[in-house]
Every structure is written in C-alpha cells, then in structure tokens.
C-alpha cells in the first residue's frame, strides 16, 4: 500500500543549498517538529521493547503460564491477562514486536533496493529502457498487492524471511516511480552536466551524484513502507499464513477470533500494538516530509 503524497517528486530548486552540511540547524529542525518527535518517542519505545524482549519477559512466550482467559487486572502476575491456552498476553505482545519490526524493516529494505535500482536506471537512461521499466512498474502496480504477497508466500513455506521477501517484491513499484521522477528532474541539472563534462562514469554519476540528491523523498517513503509492510504482515498472520513458531501480533488476533464474544481484549490489545507502531512510523514520515519539504503545508 502506498501513500499518495509520495508519487509526485519534491521540488528540486533548493537542493544545492540543502546539500551543504548544516548539521546543527537540521538537527534543531528535527527536534522542533512535534510530529517527528512524537513518532520517534513511540517508535523508540517499541524498538527498545523488541531489543530487550528476553530481559523484560524471560522464557518462551508460547508456554502455558497460568489459567486460561484471565482478564487484564484479574491477577497481578498477568497484568494484561492470559489467552485461551493460558499464555501470558504481556509476554506475547512484547515478543511479538520482534516479528513486526523485523518483517517491516527487511521488507522495506528489499523494496527500497529493487525500487531504487529500477527507478534510477529508468530515470537516468530514459528512452526504450525507461519505456520497458515503466511498463514493468505498471504491471506490478496493476496486480493486487496483497494477492501477490499471498501467492508468493504460498509458493514457499510461510517463514519470516519468505514473508519479508514477498512484501518487498510486491512493494517496490512505489519507490521505483518516486526515484524515477526524481532522476528525470535531476538528470539535466547543472551539477549533473558538470559531472558529465568531467568525464565521470555513468555508474558514478548515478550513485554518487544524483542518488544522494534524490534521497529526501525516498527517506520519507521508507518509513511509510515499513508501516505498510507491518500492516501487510499483520493481515497475512491473521489469515494464518505465518511461521507457527514465531509470535506475531496479527497471529494473536487470528488465534483469538473465536474468543471475540467473551474475551475481546485478546483482539484489542495486539491490534492496538500494531496501530501504535504503524502510527509512530507514519508520524515520523509526516515529520520528515515537513522537515525535508518545507513548502508542503502553510
């Protein structure tokens, strides 16, 4: 799933200015942006929980820990209650953060890598290469993304790696379009012409000259891609297309569907965890967009 704002390239008018390192001022811009700060705080919390999951809740979260279906607050030992198999919901939530973040980040990395290669080659070379690659992008954009992910996961066993790969393979067109648009507008700019006249190789011009200047919108896209990958992973796990040995928030929701009538907190809690994580990434993305693209809002 893609965000609309990302399909149009950012203006490149003050890029030369931006390329000059003014670290102090830029850092202050980040700290002053409330959207970015709010997102970064929530995201930082989730990342810390994922990193120290074993310290926070030692032992296997899939083990039976107490009586089944305890409501939050019933027992001080299980502050968020237990599920139908007597597993500690807090421990499941803490360990589930790992699957979401891991899949989200690796899927976005795969998607970004493919998208940046395809987009920069299409945008830089133009001509028939561009036509061909644009058709390829269109082809992938026409196929329903989630169905494509389901098909790729069905081809292999549903492990975390397969899921990340599938989401990455289905999500690259957004980045490719974005990078292509950036390359097309930067291709004829003065500094590229200068680099050409100095006799730099094409690879060097693409990688060292244009790419760094095309990055700001890609950075914004990256956070939104992680967010969307987490949402897709949650949907897949909910449909039971997941690694049975790994705890995941979407899987917790899928497991507790039968208890929706008598223990809806089992559905509400992991969903809230997903929403909070995705929200933090979207806030970071919005904040970055405001910082890197100051023109967009009054």
């Amino acid at each position: 799933m893609s965000t609309p704002d990302l399909t149009t390239p950012l203006p490149v008018t003050d890029l030369g200015n931006r390329a000059a390192p003014r670290k102090g001022r830029r850092l202050r811009a980040f700290v002053r942006n409330p959207t970015f700060v709010a997102g970064a705080i929530i995201l930082g919390f989730v990342v810390l929980v994922a990193l120290f999951a074993d310290l926070l809740c030692p032992g296997d979260p899939q083990d039976m820990a107490g009586p089944p279906l305890l409501w939050p607050g019933d027992d001080a030992e299980f502050p968020l209650g237990t599920d139908s198999l007597g597993r500690n919901v807090l421990a499941l939530l803490v360990h589930g953060s790992r699957a979401s973040l891991l899949v989200g980040i690796s899927a976005a990395a795969i998607g970004l890598a493919i998208g940046m290669v395809v987009g920069s080659v299409a945008g830089f070379f133009g001509g028939w290469v561009d036509t061909l690659l644009t058709r390829l992008i269109e082809l992938f954009q026409t196929t329903p993304t989630f169905l494509l992910v389901v098909v790729i996961v069905a081809i292999r066993e549903p492990s975390l790696q397969t899921i990340a790969l599938a989401i990455g393979l289905a999500s690259w067109p957004t980045v490719a379009r974005l990078v292509r648009a950036q390359f097309r507008s930067l291709r004829e700019s003065d500094f590229v012409v200068a680099a050409r006249s100095l006799g730099y190789s094409r690879t060097r011009i693409i990688v060292q000259e244009i790419l760094p200047n095309a990055l700001p919108p890609v950075i914004v896209a990256a956070s939104v891609m992680i967010a969307n990958a987490i949402l897709t992973e949650a949907g897949l796990s909910f449909l039971n297309m997941r690694d049975p040995n790994v705890v995941s928030w979407g899987g917790m929701i899928g497991d507790s569907r039968d208890q929706l009538r008598n223990a809806w907190f089992l559905t509400a809690l992991p969903g809230a965890a997903i929403a909070a994580t995705v929200l933090s990434l979207n806030l970071v993305g919005d904040g970055l967009n405001e910082i890197l693209n100051p023109r967009s809002d009054p």
């Binding site: 196929t143 098909v151 949650a234 929701i253 559905t267 969903g271 929403a275 979207n282 809002d297 009054p298």
Partner: protein, 328 residues
C-alpha cells in the same frame, strides 16, 4: 463536440496502452504459479488418500499438467482467447463459472467501500483544508492518521464487538440471513445490514488516504492563478471552493483511487474471510490453501483486468474534468 472528440482520443490512447499490460499480467501470473510446489493432482491424491502413480498420471494428463510449461502457457492463452479460464480439478467446475458466482458479491462490497471511502474522505479532506491549521483540522488530522495506521481487519473486528456483540444492531457473518428467504424490501434491507460492517472495515484505511490527499490537493490548488481570478470575479467563496478548487483537487484523488483499486481488491481477501463474505477474495485464499492454480490464476487475472478497466474509466473521467487532457 470537441469534448466528445477529446474523450474519444483519450479512450483510444488508453486502450492501446492497456494491451501490452494485459498480456504482461497474463504471462507474469502464469510464471508465478508455475513456481508453486505441488500441483492440483497432488492435492486430489492427498485428499482421496488412495492414489496410485497411475491415477496421478491420469489426472495430470487429463488436466494437461504433464505438458511442458511453454505448452501449458500456449494452451492457456488459446483458451483465454475464447474466454475459457480453464477447469478447476479441485471443485470439478469451470473456473470462469466459479469466479462469476463470486464476482457480484465482491463488486458490491468494493463499490460500496470505495464510494464510502471517497465520499467520507473528500468531505473530511475539504473540511480539513478549509480550516487548515485551526482546531477542526488538527482534531481531524489526528483521527485520520489513526485510521491510516489501524489494520482494516482489526477495525472490522472491533466494530463487530461493538455493533454485533454488545449492541446487537448489525450482523457480522455472511452476506445475507441464511434460510430467511426474504423478498422485496425486506431482502434489500437484510443485504444492506450485512454490507455495513465489511464495507466500513474495508473503507477505513482508504478514507484516511483520500482525506489526506484531498486536504493536500485543496491547499495546493489555493495558490493557483485561476483561484485568484475566480476571487477577483467576485464569486462566492463556497462556489469558488466547490467549482474551482474541489474540481481540480479531484484529479489527484481519482488518480490515486485508481491506483489503489488493486490494494482494495487485496484488502478484500482479509475482509471477506473475516466476515464470511462469499466473494472473490475469499475464493483466492481457498484456492491458495487448496493449491488450485487455475482458480488462483483466474482470480489474479480478473482482478488485474478490473484494475485496468477502472483506470481506463478514470482516464476518461479526467478528460472530462480537465480540458487540458487529451488535446495533443
């Protein structure tokens, strides 16, 4: 007259453009499904439990699964030319028939969800743009961002808890009351009641997308020269916003709506499974679990065709909305 010619030119251009995409999708989907481990014969054999090597070979021969990949593709293409999507060994039914029985449900769900998402999204986005930076904009921005971040199926489940379990207002399973045999208005009311929760769950994410986009494009349009002209002509601010700003802001919104149609169809897989909605998305998941390639391939193809078709309609819509499009 000029408008008619412009729209006809746009139609010709998009139709020519769509041809290779259609072919590419057919080949891509076919190759993807060739990568699947095991075939339909394996599944039937596993289910009957008593298959010998001979019966397996007979099954493969009957469904053409023993031929080379290229022959299978050529076979598939020639069948496709006569609108024959193949035969499902698993369900013992032509694939096209299976999909056609599911297609109306999916279309109903999608059109409802898309209309809801566009309507609510455009209204919210316009309100946000009109009060940009002030409290209605801030409150709505937070609400919209929340919906942008929540998994649609979770929104659906929570709505089931509230509206079906706690309040008992709306049904949460299937697309009609089974065995009730309503007729006339009672039937329509029954269907509509079953449609509310799945449509809202499917729409929730896209409401957020369109609201954010409408807000951004409305603000963008305010800086255009024609807005100043309209203001200088002394038009009422409401007329300016509706006839000049919104009309122009609708172009990016409809473009993105077309791009998201595939995502909407994908989202339907989860929502249909969750609500027991007898649509194409649930069929796709059933086909994956049953390893029934021909059905899955058919669903993928038909969904992609739907997206292409919808985008052609949107291009025509643009030619009508924006006089600058299609003149060249």
């Amino acid at each position: 007259m000029r408008m008619g010619r412009r729209i006809a030119a746009t139609f010709k251009r998009t139709a020519i453009h769509a041809g290779p995409t259609v072919l590419g999708i057919i080949v891509l989907d076919f190759l993807l499904l060739q990568l699947m481990p095991g075939d339909a014969a394996d599944v039937i054999a596993a289910e009957s439990g008593t298959a010998t090597a001979e019966t397996m070979a007979a099954l493969r021969e009957r469904f053409g699964l023993d031929k080379s990949v290229f022959t299978q593709l050529v076979n598939f293409l020639s069948h496709l030319a006569t609108f024959d999507l193949g035969f499902s060994p698993r369900y013992n039914m032509p694939v096209l028939d299976m999909i056609m029985t599911r297609l109306p449900s999916t279309l109903l769900l999608m059109v409802t969800a898309l209309s809801l998402a566009l309507l609510i999204g455009i209204v919210l986005g316009s309100i946000m743009a009109a009060w940009a930076g002030r409290w209605p904009d801030r409150v709505l921005s937070v609400v919209v961002l929340l919906f942008y971040s929540m998994p649609g199926f979770w929104v659906g489940l929570m709505a089931v808890v509230l509206f079906s379990v706690k309040l008992g207002w709306l049904p949460s399973d299937s697309s009609m009351t089974i065995g009730a045999n309503y007729t006339g208005w009672a039937m329509i009311a029954d269907r509509a009641a079953h449609l509310v929760l799945p449509a809202l769950a499917l729409a929730s994410f896209f409401v957020a997308v369109y609201a954010r986009l409408t807000r951004a494009s409305m603000l963008e349009v305010q800086r255009q020269d024609f807005m100043r002209t309209a203001e200088a002509k002394g038009l009422h601010p409401f007329v300016i916003q509706l006839r000049h700003a919104l009309r122009n802001a609708l172009i990016p919104v409809t473009t993105v709506a077309g791009m998201h149609l595939g995502n909407l169809l994908g989202g339907a897989v989860v929502i249909e499974t969750l609500f027991g909605w007898p649509g194409m998305g649930r069929l796709a998941l059933e086909a994956v679990l049953a390893r029934d390639f021909s059905v899955l391939l058919g669903v993928l193809l038909l969904s992609s065709f739907l997206v292409i078709l919808a985008n052609m309609v949107i291009d025509l819509l643009h030619a009508w909305l924006d006089p600058r499009i299609g003149v060249s």
